[in-house]
């Protein structure tokens, strides 16, 4: 008798596997069942991989036509890098277009289908609902990312891509997926209509990917003007402030972060810390932008999910 008690106590303490954790959330199970039903998911994945494959084939074709020395190692490395870079960019685009579509209706659709009240009378917690919606969206985006791995591996065949580059790019993509999915759930948690929520979730993704680079351009041209015209007048503290500000701006955009991280990797041979000499002669030590990027977007995602849970928990007044 006492043994069984101990047994159950032990099994209760055993940490559940990730799969078990997902299965325990009814929303994840339900959403995944619905999402993978029929051939919709299969067609989506096939079209997506077909497009990526077509891109790679086109690059390959272009290279084999234009370069006479495909046999030279450096050329092949350029080819490898090109495949890798373009695929990462395509995947980023995919994430920013698919994530809002998967999550922006998460809660608002429950309201529109009049199932929200049903859920709220059950024992399902606000957290389980929000996290279930978020995770089921994210899992599908991750499936798309991982499905493209064989294509990515072509880059390794040609060389030129370091493991660090690959790992950092994958982390950046996953964090971006987390942020875009969290934003979708966030908007749908307090906006009643799915249409508006979807528009806002897309706006968030598009501004993050494309809007911020324009802001960056503006910021850098401003710095340029300052240094071009008033460079001599600016104090060294102001100069440091400007550079750190610019660096922070780089770290909120996935494209700029990827490019800047790549530059740091190539020029400074460092994945984490690099030293930047300023025009005035002082050098400042900065962290490679991908680190603040993931910190910023993970915190932002957690914050958006937290707010969503608060909205969902609220009893109607």
């Amino acid at each position: 008798m006492s043994e069984t008690v101990v047994d159950s106590a032990v099994s209760a303490k055993r940490r559940p596997s990730l799969g078990e954790l997902f299965r325990r959330n009814p929303v994840v199970v339900k959403e995944m069942r619905a999402r993978m039903r029929g051939n919709r998911a299969f067609i989506l994945l096939t079209v997506y991989l077909g497009l990526l494959g077509l891109m790679v084939a086109l690059i390959y074709f272009a290279f084999s036509q234009s370069t006479s020395a495909v046999n030279s190692v450096s050329d092949r490395q350029i080819f490898g890098k090109a495949i890798f870079g373009i695929l990462v960019f395509m995947q980023l685009l995919t994430i920013s277009f698919v994530s809002p579509a998967l999550t922006a209706g998460a809660i608002s659709m429950e309201r529109e289908h009049q199932t929200y009240d049903l859920l709220r009378t059950t024992l399902l917690t606000g957290r389980a609902l929000v996290m279930g919606k978020f995770l089921s969206g994210l899992l599908f985006v991750l499936l798309m990312l991982f499905a493209a791995l064989p294509l990515q591996s072509l880059a390794f065949l040609f060389g030129g891509v370091a493991p660090e580059e690959f790992i950092i790019a994958t982390i950046l993509l996953i964090v971006s997926a987390i942020a875009f999915c969290a934003a979708g759930v966030f908007f749908s948690s307090f906006i009643k209509r799915t249409l508006i929520s979807t528009v806002l979730a897309y706006a968030f993704a598009i501004i993050t990917v494309f809007g911020l680079p324009m802001l960056l351009l503006l910021a850098f041209s401003l710095i340029d003007v300052l240094f071009g015209g008033l460079g001599s007048q600016i104090s060294s503290a102001g100069e440091i402030f400007l550079f750190i500000g610019g660096w922070l701006l780089v770290a909120v955009n996935p494209l700029a972060t990827a490019v800047a991280t790549e530059v740091v990797l190539l020029q400074e041979q460092s994945a984490f810390i690099f030293t930047l000499p300023l025009p005035s002669g002082i050098s400042i030590t900065l962290i490679s932008p991908w680190v603040p990027y993931i910190i910023f977007y993970l915190i932002l995602s957690l914050f958006m999910l937290w707010i969503s849970i608060r909205f969902v928990r609220r009893v109607e007044k």
């Binding site: 069942r33 929200y116 049903l118 709220r120 059950t122």
Partner: protein, 321 residues
């Protein structure tokens, strides 16, 4: 007394709900005992749904108190949600779901372990007679079937109290009877049922007690017979005789309690009389005994069904908030 030791299943005290200037529910006080089928009757817009949503922990009361099984809806909503099964007046459809998955999902939402769910789903589908549609998509079901599935959903966690908003609305007569039979069966299983309706025959046939709500105010509560006595001291009796109509009429006029007798129809040798009667059940059965004793060929003797509507019409004034 037992009523003191067993607390009432649902206790509503001075419950009020205001939406801005509008008072949807106005100081409602009522109790529902365990095992009762309580019918909440009122015209559209009377505040029925608001009241039910407040009991189901979906809507915050502006003031007043609701206790279910002794637990406060506002302070202990998790316990209350475990105790109640709520069925709204619409059917929440997930397009991409099979019948069994629908129940499985809600079972999981009530934290019922995965191993127990398979058997539970079988039992529930059998109870609502949907076993043959197990693998069908939910949105392919007919309205009556959806309603039955919905009822099965509210039973997933074996709640003690069922809060049902218009469970029979929009159904064809057969489906309505099926739902009604299910409710009676559930009450026999010991469940307390609190349901709203504007279909009076539902109330008459299955409810132990009725509450009539109008413009947010509870205008009458009690067993239907008591309400009839209260609101309509005169009951309307229909009597069909095979001949001797004049004798029947003059005899009736001498019986105590009979206020008025009208001949109102005559077809195929049968004559019908409408009697206004002010006595109770004992007096009424005595009146029938007298008729039979005196050799009046009584074919049919019953209380008019229109009575129920009369009760409703007299209790309410046609106000809508």
């Amino acid at each position: 007394m037992t009523s003191e030791t067993i607390p009432s299943m649902i206790v509503i005290k001075e419950l009020t709900k205001r939406y801005g200037q509008l008072t949807a529910v106005d100081k409602i006080t009522l109790t529902v005992e365990e095992g009762e089928i309580f019918g909440f009757v009122g015209p559209n817009g009377a505040g029925k749904t608001s009241t039910l949503r407040m009991i189901a922990c979906l809507l915050e009361p502006s003031s007043g108190e609701i206790r279910v099984g002794g637990h406060s809806v506002t302070n202990d909503s998790r316990t209350v949600r475990r105790l109640i099964g709520y069925m709204p007046d619409f059917f929440g459809v997930y397009n991409d779901m099979k019948v069994w998955e629908y129940l499985d999902f809600f079972g999981a939402c009530y934290a019922i372990p995965e191993i127990e769910r398979a058997q539970l789903i079988d039992d529930l589908l059998e109870l609502v007679d949907l076993n043959h549609r197990r693998e069908d998509m939910v949105d392919k079901l007919s309205r009556g079937m959806k309603q039955r599935l919905s009822l099965a959903r509210t039973l997933v966690h074996d709640p003690q109290v069922l809060i049902l908003d218009e469970p029979a609305s929009g159904l064809d007569p057969r489906a309505r009877v099926e739902i009604r039979e299910l409710l009676v069966e559930l009450a026999k299983m010991g469940k307390t049922i609190f349901f709203s309706t504007h279909i009076l025959s539902d109330v008459a046939e299955i409810c132990t007690r009725v509450g009539i709500i109008e413009a947010g105010k509870l205008v009458a509560v009690g067993a239907l017979e008591d309400l009839q006595q209260q609101i309509m001291p005169r009951r309307l009796i229909e009597l069909t005789v095979l001949g001797q109509i004049e004798e029947a009429q003059s005899l009736l006029e001498t019986i105590p309690g009979v206020v008025n007798v009208d001949k109102f129809q005559n077809n195929g040798g049968r004559s019908r009389l409408r009697i206004e009667f002010s006595g109770d059940d004992v007096a009424l059965s005595a009146a029938l005994a007298i008729l039979v004793q005196k050799g009046i060929p009584v074919l049919h003797f019953n209380e008019s069904r229109r009575d129920l509507e009369e009760v409703f019409m007299r209790a309410t004034k046609g106000l809508v908030t």
